[in-house]
Symmetry: C2
Subunit: 319 residues, 2 copies
């Protein structure tokens, strides 16, 4: 069996491992994402690849590639990080392929982590055998990956599928991308916390205290908890997140005519009821011929999807 | 040289012709769209195909296909009209391929008219040699066609690229698709007229008279004229159309990472300055790495684009 080294680079952790062609994770390590310099991250990658190669030789594992998925904008053809998220220190203009080429002779694949998520789900997960699907990862931000007629949609240089930056309200809150009312501003972890903070800052101090003494430190997790206990401002924020997500997904369905939407990311996995609410709203507002029968599922591969998808690029592209 | 019969079915007219592989229109006729029954339209298609076949035999023209582009939702694999626009009488559930198969032995192609527009522009027009482009036809409604990595995006059954029904304001006006604030509700001919009518109905009668005595009969053409003469309500409506269109196009650029946007349709051709305004706004609000360098052009093939694209399906799919 062929194996591939997978590396999944996120804002808080870097998952690495050796993954088999059936999606089996043979070795796995989790590192906290270094936050001093980008050099430190690149060094970690080099060291990891070097160690896994040694291990593979010892254990007679047939390694065929190194596959990396990273947050941020990626020039996947040239194997370069163009610009990362604010969550990774100086994650800009880094020629990953070049840097690793001194460590290994294996072919090196690099893609956006939402694309590698889509690759994993399409090849091995809920999207297996499905030609038209849209993936959304709901976490700190919102990432997107699209498979259309069996192909990952990448665009001119690989910057496609920035679905978190689909605006559903041109009068909405400013997004860090420059636009307004992007679904990320309403329905990501950061967006939900920001919208709640705005609400708390606009109500009187006495009422605010029933929520928290520290609005600046609140997280989306708390907002979901407050929503569960019926606190009205939290309910408004969560309802608005559902509305924004639903309008965004209707836009995606009108654009791609998919048969499946797959959700991933911590926020989706912790709040599966949310997906059901979104499905109902999407069915109510979209064009019936297009939204009818579109399934919505949470990632089947779970926690390892990013790692598996990163490793899997070599097999996905050769099909 | 190979030739193909092209048929472009719109709400007000049906253009038919014999088109050569270089995009040359050898014969052309324009018919008003019959508005009594859908049977009458199908009969017109049969008669036209039959006459063009006779003509081709007489003149020794090498016909290889019949290609049809139609407004509405199309099951392009099976050659069926699923549901049309309100502009074409009973344009639902019509098996065009089956109906015409008794008239001709030529292969019959059927697609949405915005897709055939995209095919024409991609194969012969402003999009020649461009792998990633988005087409928008601005007319009575707004249609969309997408080419990604050289392929027309169709989705599960051909319903993709309903870009007119991309919402950019979940608090916006109701759209006939079921959603709210779709770009069609702001920036199509019908949308511009509707938004202007709302404005006129909300201002006092004395001021309204400076526009028109018959708000119910106004068209987008008048709104553009009033805007030119500086009437403030018209300016607001046109500004809002530009805003909606710009946010929608930013969404499309974030989704597809294209290098080119091509505009067609009467509204774009009559108001080229609008495209320039949209380009400026898109550059101001989109992610710089994605919007930078995206060109915006008005269709090069002009009036015959729909006809040429309809005929051209046979060659586009065999490439």
């Amino acid at each position: 069996m062929e194996y591939s080294i997978g590396i999944d680079i996120g804002g808080t952790k870097i998952a690495t491992g050796i993954v088999g062609q059936q999606g089996n994770v043979r070795y796995k390590r989790i590192h906290p994402t270094p936050n001093s310099t980008n050099r430190e991250i690149v060094d970690l990658l080099k060291q990891t690849v070097s160690e896994y190669m040694k291990l593979a030789t010892e254990e007679n594992i047939n390694l065929v590639s190194v596959g990396i998925g990273s947050a941020g904008q990626i020039d996947y053809k040239n194997g370069r990080i163009l610009s990362g998220t604010v969550n990774i220190k100086d994650w800009n203009n880094i020629d990953i392929r070049e840097s690793l080429s001194h460590t290994t002779n294996l072919p090196i694949y690099l893609d956006n982590d939402a694309n590698t998520f889509a690759i994993a789900e399409h090849q091995l997960g809920s999207g297996k055998g499905v030609d038209d699907l849209v993936c959304l990862t709901l976490g700190t931000g919102i990432g997107g990956g699209i498979v259309s007629d069996g192909n990952v949609i990448r665009g001119k240089w690989g910057g496609a599928a920035e679905l978190g930056h689909m605006s559903v309200n041109f009068n909405g809150p400013d997004c860090n991308c420059g636009s307004k009312g992007c679904i990320e501003t309403y329905a990501s972890g950061t967006g939900i916390a920001n919208r709640m903070r705005e609400k708390l800052n606009s109500i009187d101090a006495g009422k605010r205290i029933s929520y928290t003494e520290h609005p600046d430190m609140l997280t989306s997790k708390e907002v979901f908890e407050w929503n569960k206990t019926g606190l009205p401002e939290a309910k408004e924020v969560i309802d608005q997140a559902i509305t924004a997500l639903s309008f965004g997904i209707v836009n995606m369905i009108h654009t791609f005519n998919p048969s499946l939407i797959i959700f991933g990311g911590g926020l989706a996995e912790a709040n599966r009821w949310l997906i059901e609410e979104v499905q109902n709203k999407v069915n109510a507002i979209g064009m019936p011929s297009l939204v009818k029968g579109v399934e919505m599922k949470v990632s089947k591969l779970g926690y390892d999807t990013g790692l598996i998808g990163a490793a899997y690029q070599v097999w996905a592209t050769s099909k």
